[in-house]
Every structure is written in structure tokens, then in C-alpha cells.
């Protein structure tokens, strides 16, 4: 099999991309609007294609701990869920961060809090970017804005997870998971052999060879000074992420007088808003953070020196705006526009908000 063009749902694209990435295991639990990931994998029988293991776990808690166990063996493992289920996974994510284990977690966000709705939302930004689980840790967070990026970021997620020995979250939403688009799928690579894993992950628990030290996967340090050293090591890793992994896209920003900042589905909507604004003679641009952590602070700071105002557009009550405000340091007017609870804003609503809150305000 080579590269291939297909019309797929975002959820299916993640599943197929995981197989083609050479992932060793998927562990998941059904929840709307992401169940197609598990359904696709069960139907596709990847264990016959590549040897990839697929298992429906008894809970999201079990699923993330299966990812932990697999990752501890240096295996490429992925799990997916939607907001309420991601809350259940937070314990495991914190343990993975503490034990420095790589893994990919897909969140197809729906409206909350609680059981909320099953429609698309971006209300889990804080949870993904600011922690979610307990302890001083960070997760690399990738925000796709298309089915293509759902597939691409599955591969990128594994790459970054193993580069940093850290969990990576793909923060999508119900629209990206459910909508169908053309997607170019990568050429498949086989699962790594045990020898290859031992080479790449000398820390992995694959069984202790007679002449070698044993490997231990743990997040426990009973002595506070040792734990502090571990925390400092983690912080150094996060600092490296902030230096090397910031990803973002600038659209029509060269001559922009007004800036929209949006990620994921909101960024797709804002692209239409840009065209509508330009037709009316409003010079608007869009900054789309692709990594939500690390956040593109510097490009925002630079743009803030050139534009007259910023409108942050999110499908939540105002979460990323806190990071935007930190980045622009109060230099210019920064307002939020959001629909939430599963409601998707229309491009004209966004334009109206830009005119009222930023241009006229």
C-alpha cells in the first residue's frame, strides 16, 4: 500500500493513520462523538495488517492505563475519547507525564460540563493545556482544523510523544471527528521489532537481558528532594518544547489591521469570516495556533504591535483568550467571542462580533 486519497470522517482518519504509523495498540471505550475510531479499528482488523492490537476496555480509566502499560514497554499506543471520558483519563495522563511515557490521546470534544451535549465544543481547552490531571506537568497539545490534520497529527503526535517521552493530546471536536473530507493517507510503515524498540527506547520494560540493569517505570519518589530534581527535569523538557515545538498558521496577516485568533473548527469558520470582512474592506487576518501547548506567544506578541485589536473566537466561554492576553501583555484591545454548549458560530456572527467588539467598540 502506498499513499492513498480517501473520503473519510475525522475519527476514521485518526484510526487509519494510527495503523499506517505502525502503532502497536489502540485501547478505547465507546463515547459519542468519537466511537468511530474504535468501530473502524475493530472492522479493519489491523492485527492482520500490521499486528496492531485493538481492545475495547472496560472504562476510559482502564484504556489510558493500558496505554501506560504499552508505553512502558516502548510500544506506540493510542487512545481516544470525548470530554467526559477524557476527564476519567486524567489520572492516567498525570501518571504518564510523571513516569515520562509516550502516548497519543485523542479528545473529540463535546459540550460540557457534566454529560453536557454530544455536539462540537472547545470547552476542554483549559483541561488539555493547563493540566487536567494532578501535579506540575504539561502535555503537548495539537489542534487539527481538518480531517487531513486529524490524520497528520496522529503521526506527528507519536513522533513528538517519543521525542519527549511525554503524552501528546490531539484536541479536536465533534465537528472534526464527524465530518467527511478528502484525506491523503501516508504510506504505511510496519510495527517496530522488539530489537528496534530496545534500540530506540533503552528504558522500556521488555524483559531484562541477563547482562543488563533492569528497567523500572514509575512516577514515585518518596524523597522530596529527589522529586524536586525530577520536577526540574520535567520543566527543562517543557522549556525545550516551548523553544522547539511551537506551531501556528498566519492567514492574511501581512496587511491586517484586525486580528482573529482561533484554533480547530473555529479557525475554519474564521477563514470564511476573513473573506467576508475583506469584501467589506475590513483588513482582517487570522492567527491559528496549531500547538495549544506550547502556545505561539511570540508571533502573537509581534502581531499585536501591528494590529488595532484582537478578537479571540472559541467554541467556549473564553479559555484560550487568557493565553492570548498573556501574550499581548495588554498592548491592545483583546475581546472574546464564543458560542458554547455545542453551538457552532456562523462566519457572519463572528464578523458582527468583530465589528461591534473591536472595530466599533
Amino acid at each position: 500500500m502506498k499513499k492513498e486519497l480517501r473520503l473519510m470522517k475525522g475519527n476514521e482518519a485518526v484510526a487509519e493513520a494510527a495503523i499506517r504509523a505502525g502503532a502497536d495498540g489502540y485501547f478505547g471505550y465507546p463515547i459519542t462523538p468519537q466511537s468511530e475510531v474504535l468501530e473502524y479499528l475493530m472492522a479493519e482488523k489491523p492485527y492482520e495488517r500490521t499486528g496492531m492490537v485493538v481492545l475495547q476496555a472496560e472504562s476510559e480509566i482502564a484504556a489510558i492505563n493500558m496505554v501506560y502499560g504499552a508505553a512502558g514497554c516502548g510500544k506506540m499506543a493510542i487512545t481516544s475519547s470525548s470530554s467526559p471520558g477524557i476527564s476519567l483519563k486524567q489520572e492516567g495522563i498525570s501518571y504518564m507525564a510523571g513516569a515520562e511515557l509516550p502516548g497519543v490521546i485523542l479528545n473529540v470534544v463535546r459540550g460540557g460540563p457534566g454529560l453536557g451535549t454530544i455536539q462540537p465544543s472547545q470547552a476542554d481547552y483549559f483541561q488539555a493545556v493547563k493540566g487536567g490531571g494532578h501535579g506540575d506537568y504539561r502535555m503537548l497539545v495539537l489542534a487539527p482544523a481538518s480531517v487531513q490534520e486529524m490524520a497528520d497529527f496522529t503521526l506527528l503526535g507519536f513522533e513528538l510523544a517519543f521525542k519527549y517521552r511525554n503524552p501528546v493530546m490531539i484536541l479536536s471536536d465533534g465537528a472534526l471527528g464527524q465530518m467527511m473530507e478528502k484525506v491523503e493517507l501516508p504510506e504505511p510503515v510496519p510495527c517496530r521489532t522488539e530489537e528496534e524498540i530496545r534500540q530506540q527506547c533503552p528504558w522500556a520494560t521488555l524483559g531484562k537481558p541477563a547482562n543488563m540493569e533492569r528497567n523500572i517505570i514509575t512516577s514515585l519518589n518518596l524523597e522530596s528532594l529527589k522529586q524536586e530534581q525530577h520536577n526540574l527535569k520535567l520543566q527543562a523538557k517543557y522549556a525545550q518544547m516551548e523553544r522547539e515545538e511551537v506551531r501556528y498558521e498566519e492567514i492574511m496577516c501581512e496587511d491586517a489591521e484586525y486580528l482573529l485568533v482561533a484554533f480547530g473548527s473555529s479557525a475554519r469558520i474564521c477563514q470564511k469570516t476573513l473573506r467576508m470582512a475583506r469584501e467589506k474592506g475590513i483588513k482582517a487576518g487570522l492567527l491559528r495556533p496549531i500547538t495549544l501547548y506550547p502556545f505561539p506567544q511570540k508571533p502573537l506578541f509581534e502581531l499585536a504591535r501591528r494590529v488595532k485589536g484582537i478578537l479571540v473566537v472559541e467554541m467556549n466561554a473564553g479559555q484560550m483568550i487568557e493565553d492570548v492576553k498573556l501574550a499581548v501583555c495588554g498592548k491592545i484591545k483583546t475581546e472574546h467571542f464564543g458560542r458554547f454548549g455545542g453551538v457552532i458560530p456562523s462566519p457572519s456572527e463572528v464578523l458582527q462580533a468583530l465589528e461591534q467588539k473591536i472595530i466599533g467598540g
Binding site: E58, N65, G69, E91, G207, P209, T218
Partner: protein, 262 residues
């Protein structure tokens, strides 16, 4: 004085009837004197050595007194979140079916917070071994009531004794998992006397042998003491265990495979 023999003079290879297994490290055990964990560790390690599987065994440590089990076994190990060891083991064994995988869990870990993970791994028949140390108490956190605490038994969170009306009855989870078709071997043992140690070691050997034959989940409960948590001397704790724990948690095989083809 120069005629006094040294240890090296006395202890010669041909005179040795017993020595510490190389599957245990030289780290000092973190367990209280009198506790059964050390003995349980030793016989697990001996079984691993005798089967020649040190290089392909992966153990999972729980949360609780044995959270540091990875300091004592000289094998690759992972430490799980509280109760989640069977989930880790499920993934590890499925991804590495040629390895031997075991979890080592206490009663709070296995039968309270990890009940779902325990039951479902057993029900799926995942092909690893669960070693369950039941001392009827949360030892590490200071002697709180566990799911296996006996009726009337005092603990720091049942200071007037476990009242089954408000605190429920002790959970016989071992009998429960024996009902599930996924388990191939379920047994309850003890390690407080030499005879029991020998029986428990045989049971552990069988559990690992069945795993090697892909027969499903093998489950070994070891009823143990917690002299610190029970606030008794080690000897009194063992006597109390015999008089009170064993009648409620009777020793012996609960489920064995139909055919023993070893």
C-alpha cells in the same frame, strides 16, 4: 585466635542447602518485621529463577505497601496507579505475548479501587498472573478499613469495629473471580509457616506454568498478616490470622484447570 574459621571457610558451595535467589536484589526490604510480603516476594522470585524466565518476566507493582516491589525484584517492572495494575498487564501481555507478566496487588488496590480492572481482566481471560496479598487492611496509609476487613474488626476508619450494616461485608473477590470463565486457576494460600510457604510456592509455579501455556488468567491469593496495622506482635498476628482470617478466607484451590498437562 588465628585458628577461628571465617565465613568463607565454613560456607562452601557443596555445603549450601539454601541461598538467596538472584531474582531478588540486595536492597533492604521496606516491609515491617513480621510482615508476609518479604516471604511472598522471595518465593515469587524463586519461581522465576527456577523456571529460567528472569529475562522475559515483567512485573507490575501496585499502590500500597508493595508500591516499591520494583526495588526488590531484579526484573523489568512498571508501577501502576492505584488499582490499575491489571489494565497495564492486559496491554503488556497482549503486545508481548511471549513474556511472562504478573501483577502484585494488595486488597485495597485489587478489591476496592481496582475492582473493575480486576474483574474485567479476569473475565477477558487475559493471560497473565495476579498475585493478591490479602491482609484485610490498608497498611501503607496507616491501617484503614479495607474491602476485606473482617466483620467487627477494628481499623483506623472502623475504630469501633467493622459494622456490616453500615460498612458492608468483606468482599470475597477470589471466589468471585473463580466464577468467571476467563480464569484458569484460582487458589488461596498463606506464607506464615514453612509448610504454607512450600504450598504457596507450588501454587505460584503452577500459575506461571499455566500462563506459559496460554490457559487464561491465573490468580493466587495469599492471606497475610499486617502486624503493624493490626497492632499486634508478629506472632500474635499470625495466630489471629489463623483463628480469624482463615475461617473466613479458607486456604486451598478454588478453581483448577480440568486437565493438568505440565
Amino acid at each position: 585466635m588465628e585458628n577461628i574459621p571465617t565465613t568463607a571457610d565454613i560456607v562452601k558451595e557443596e555445603n549450601l542447602v539454601y541461598k538467596k535467589t538472584k531474582v531478588l536484589t540486595d536492597n533492604i526490604l521496606s516491609y515491617c518485621p513480621g510482615c508476609g510480603h518479604g516471604t511472598a516476594h522471595r518465593i515469587i522470585a524463586e519461581v522465576i529463577e527456577e523456571m529460567g524466565i528472569q529475562d522475559k518476566t515483567i512485573g507490575i507493582a501496585p499502590v500500597g505497601c508493595s508500591v516499591l516491589a520494583y526495588n526488590f525484584f531484579d526484573i523489568d517492572m512498571q508501577q501502576a496507579a492505584h488499582g490499575r495494575a491489571p489494565a497495564l498487564a492486559t496491554a503488556i501481555k497482549r503486545l508481548l505475548p511471549d513474556k511472562f507478566v504478573f501483577t502484585y496487588q494488595g486488597d485495597g488496590d485489587l478489591a476496592a479501587i481496582g475492582t473493575a480492572e480486576t474483574i474485567h481482566a479476569c473475565n477477558r481471560g487475559d493471560n497473565f498472573t495476579i498475585i493478591f496479598i490479602n491482609n484485610g487492611i490498608y497498611g501503607m496509609t496507616g491501617g484503614q478499613m479495607a474491602p476485606t476487613t473482617l466483620p467487627g474488626m477494628k481499623s483506623s476508619t472502623s475504630p469501633y469495629g467493622r459494622d456490616t450494616q453500615t460498612m458492608g461485608n468483606p468482599l470475597k473477590i477470589t471466589e468471585l473471580v473463580a466464577q468467571l470463565p476467563g480464569t484458569c486457576y484460582v487458589t488461596r494460600q498463606a506464607v506464615h509457616t514453612p509448610g504454607n510457604v512450600r504450598k504457596a510456592k507450588k501454587a505460584l509455579r503452577l500459575a506461571f506454568e499455566y500462563q506459559g501455556k496460554n490457559m487464561g488468567l491465573s490468580f493466587v491469593e495469599i492471606v497475610s498478616n499486617c502486624n503493624s496495622g493490626w497492632k499486634m506482635t508478629p506472632r500474635n498476628a499470625n495466630e489471629w490470622m489463623e483463628d480469624n482470617m482463615f475461617p473466613f478466607y479458607p486456604l486451598g484451590d478454588i478453581k483448577t484447570p480440568a486437565k493438568l498437562e505440565l
